[in-house]
Symmetry: C2
């Protein structure tokens, strides 16, 4: 093989598909592709609304990836012959009380200073846009360019595109094979070996526990638990993603609605707790009262891969032939196009794009000679 | 057969088991035994705490059935060789605010006048009994004789006892066969006929829609939706069933906890709604704050069979050979022993016990010559 990808989440599958599209022979190894955080994520493609203070450096990278979505999805749907569930709906941030109104004003000014495309709205303007909002909404901020993709469409579509382009999917755990200091492939559960010129480590929060990875190259990822609700009801309730102070309500346009999501440091715990479900429903009802009428279809939890600075780790490891692509935290779907394009370019013999240098895993490496 | 029972919920299975125990040849017909309200119920055996104003007449019937539980369960467990999940835990009613405290006082006086075994507790006494209660609890009422059974143990145990006693279980829908004005058995989906001396109609909320039942004998049941939550966590959180103004929290003693339950008139709708889950969790947290820490394992809805006066319909129909046993509403588990004993006695050639006469379906019959 030219490349074998460890991990069949949105990052691993996007890398495999883009590499296969570039003409490479690719395999993906995952015990259950698309069953991790990629299955539970809401799929917000929101680089503007989710931009955080102190993260100005990464905003342009995030926006660049979001800008790739239309062509990424068009090519993917062409290859797969089915929809990837990308929808350009815009996102409406709202404030329900004076504190949230102040916070929203700060968020607005921050984005305005960076010349990001945001529009401040009065209470009246906000509710005119989305009549389903609570009468107590104090004001809003419209981000017309923040969109969404449906993970429950995207993952099967990526798998289908991979399949059509000849990507092998091995349903197994993997361990890395290293010979003479160079990654040479992976071994599967049954002992089968897949030799490959390059190995991409994209196992999300489990990337730190893949056997055979040299300790210097083990990505410092931790699982960041997110609890999320899936509901169903009237397609007319809201048209845009509604973002409150602590929850978002994301409509798929067909009556399906997602309410998310908690951010919890609890190790590899995927239990759904009464407290989280309660808080999500409470906050969502405060924004859109008719949420109470929706059918609750699923309450679940996923584990995002978080790095020490919560930014992705995408780049070379110290072991030749081993590439790291994990740590995307809350931005796996947002950053899949930019990540896949960069990794596929390197797999095809190119170099890392200048833009993705901030993602290099080298930033977490111990200086030589320091420590044990 | 001596008897065929249409419906394999707790009532139908208890009737079949008791009749088989009396030496009769019995069959039960149900597309999916134990899958209706019997599967979702909490299993409160609470004739004292649940006694309602204006229902004095039925309280002694309910208490009589509750009193049968220990021997009913002992015999059942002997026959089945497994636990029925009956636990004598007592129930603690609590009030979280002044309004609930007034209501609780009225409930207490009503029960005291009827000489029911209840004990009024101060805030301090209430929390001494159950330290997991919220500090804001105003007071309590202890009902030491109100217990519980675990439906998820009871149903498989009833099925096992039936199986061991030779009861045939047919997984099919049934239609009633009537010849020369007399019920003679049932026909199954595939056309198979089961002849029987007696037919017991115990199909819960579907009892009004069994083909072949003469219109005069069609029980006027309606589905009464109940949404309920199942959780898991610390076995020490509470020891007794906690009953608040609008919810109950029922501990199984092994960390499993049930929070219920709504009472909704919505036809044959078993959807779980965001609003109901939210309200149940909100009310439960107000009683026992640590509920928030529990894992939410299941949110579901069942359909109780309600009669026009919400009391059971157990007795003869106007069609010889056809017995009605449905309409148990919120009291299916509570009333299973008294119902099964009465129906089994009649199937064995006896007469209806005097005590169950108030349950006779004849109370809903149109006087002869009136109407179309």
């Amino acid at each position: 093989m030219d490349a074998v990808v460890i991990g069949g989440g949105v990052i691993g599958l996007a890398v495999a598909w883009r590499a296969a599209r570039a003409g490479l022979n690719v395999a993906v190894v995952d015990p259950e592709p698309g069953s991790g955080a990629s299955n539970f994520a809401a799929g917000m493609i929101a680089p503007v609304g989710e931009a955080e203070f102190g993260e100005e450096a990464v905003i342009s990278l995030n926006r660049d990836s979001a800008a790739r979505y239309p062509s990424f999805v068009a090519e993917l749907e062409l290859d797969a012959g089915r929809s990837a569930g990308y929808r350009q709906t815009g996102t409406l941030h709202v404030a329900v009380d004076a504190d949230e109104q102040s916070a929203l004003e700060r968020h607005y000014r921050f984005r305005q200073e960076l010349e990001l495309p945001v529009e401040r709205l009065s209470s009246r303007q906000t509710r005119d846009l989305e009549p389903g909002l609570s009468p107590s909404i104090r004001g809003g901020m419209l981000v017309d360019s923040d969109h969404q993709v449906d993970p429950r469409a995207m993952i099967p579509t990526l798998l289908q595109a991979c399949s059509r382009l000849g990507v092998q999917i091995h349903r197994s755990r993997a361990s890395l094979l290293v010979e003479a200091g160079r990654a040479t492939g992976v071994a599967l559960d049954g002992g089968q070996r897949i030799e490959a010129a390059s190995v991409v480590l994209a196992a999300g929060p489990w990337s730190g526990a893949v056997p055979g990875v040299p300790s210097d190259d083990t990505p410092p990822v931790r699982p960041v638990k997110g609890q999320i609700l899936r509901l169903r009801g009237s397609p007319e309730m809201i048209a845009r993603t509604i973002r409150g102070g602590s929850v978002y309500i994301l409509p798929r346009g067909d009556g399906r609605v997602v309410i998310g999501g908690t951010v919890e440091e609890r190790g590899f715990d995927t239990s759904v707790t009464a407290g989280a479900v309660y808080e999500l429903l409470r906050e969502a009802r405060a924004l859109v009262p008719d949420v109470a009428e929706l059918e609750l279809v699923e309450a679940s939890a996923g584990l995002r891969p978080g790095s020490p600075d919560n930014m992705p780790m995408v780049g070379d490891s110290t072991t030749p032939g081993l590439i790291i692509a994990t740590g995307h935290h809350r931005n796996g779907y947002l950053l899949a196009p930019a990540t896949a394009d960069a990794v596929a370019a390197v797999l095809a013999g190119g170099t890392w794009p200048e833009a993705t240098r901030p993602w290099s895993p080298s930033r977490f490496r111990r200086p030589a000679g320091v420590g044990a």
